[in-house]
């Protein structure tokens, strides 16, 4: 099983974002570096959810915002390691929609369940495979470490 490492600050920032946007889904990008076991996330960047028509069970990040986030990652010597979003009153498991609309192979997709406004379980799934046709989510081990790294965003 691959590993997603992130600091307590990043972990808590992701979960707090899900609580703030409840009952809507939150979303954002994870910037970090690949290591032998998986990804080490350094920064969580908040993004707007453009799916205002169905924000309680859908999310989408505007590509224009991603262009800016990718630019920020480059300036800091980091890569886009993956993305996070919340599942309001729904388990922290990937859905058919999550898989169908996931295209960042090799990246992690972090999902936080938010029950009645409170973040509960946070899971991460690696989008494995080499093509759209054989892509699949594989559960990752989430390791939260004490580090002096934080989060940014709007």
């Amino acid at each position: 099983m691959s590993v997603l490492r992130l600091s307590t600050a990043v972990y808590e920032a992701i979960r707090a974002h899900g609580e703030e946007t409840y009952p809507h889904e939150c979303c954002g990008a994870l910037l970090g570096q690949a290591d032998a076991e998986g990804w080490q996330v350094k920064i969580a960047v908040r993004a707007g959810n453009t799916r205002t028509d169905s924000a309680h069970n859908r999310y989408q990040i505007a590509p224009a915002e991603l262009v800016k986030i990718e630019r920020e990652a480059r300036s800091q010597g980091l890569d886009i390691a993956g993305f996070y979003h919340s599942h309001p009153d729904h388990p922290a498991q990937w859905s058919a929609t999550d898989l169908a609309e996931a295209h960042w192979l090799g990246c992690c997709y972090v999902i936080t369940a938010v029950a009645q406004g409170k973040a509960t379980v946070t899971n991460s799934f690696l989008l494995a495979g080499v093509t759209e046709e054989d892509k699949r989510f594989e559960a990752q081990s989430v390791v939260v470490e004490e580090q002096s790294i934080g989060s940014s965003g709007d």
Binding site: N57, R58, Y59, H85, H87, T97, G106, C107
Partner: protein
């Protein structure tokens, strides 16, 4: 110009995060890119040769879909082309 390769496609682009090449149009740049890195082609284009629906192309800060000339838009050496696969999903409650 510079083409920025997103994390998931770098394995098919020799591991490069950015590739410099000389082209006169966006489509010309994509032709050169996929000639140099043929494995990228199936990730960027459909079997009919169209850009895949989930692949977004940004010339500097402009969505190529909304440029008047789209992929035939002329490019300069200082331009950047970002390849951005779409990001979406959701809990997808079956009852809603």
């Amino acid at each position: 110009m510079t083409i920025y390769i997103p994390t998931p496609l770098r394995a098919f682009a020799g591991g490069h995060a950015a590739i410099e090449l000389n082209a006169t149009t966006i489509s010309g740049a994509l032709d050169i890119l996929t000639q140099e890195h043929p494995e990228l082609r199936k990730h960027l284009f459909t079997g009919e040769g169209k850009i895949r629906a989930f692949v977004n192309l940004y010339l500097n800060d402009e969505d190529v879909r909304y440029l008047p000339a789209k992929e035939a838009t002329a490019v300069a050496a200082t331009d950047t082309l970002s390849i951005i696969p779409s990001i979406a999903g959701g809990a997808s409650h079956p009852t809603t």
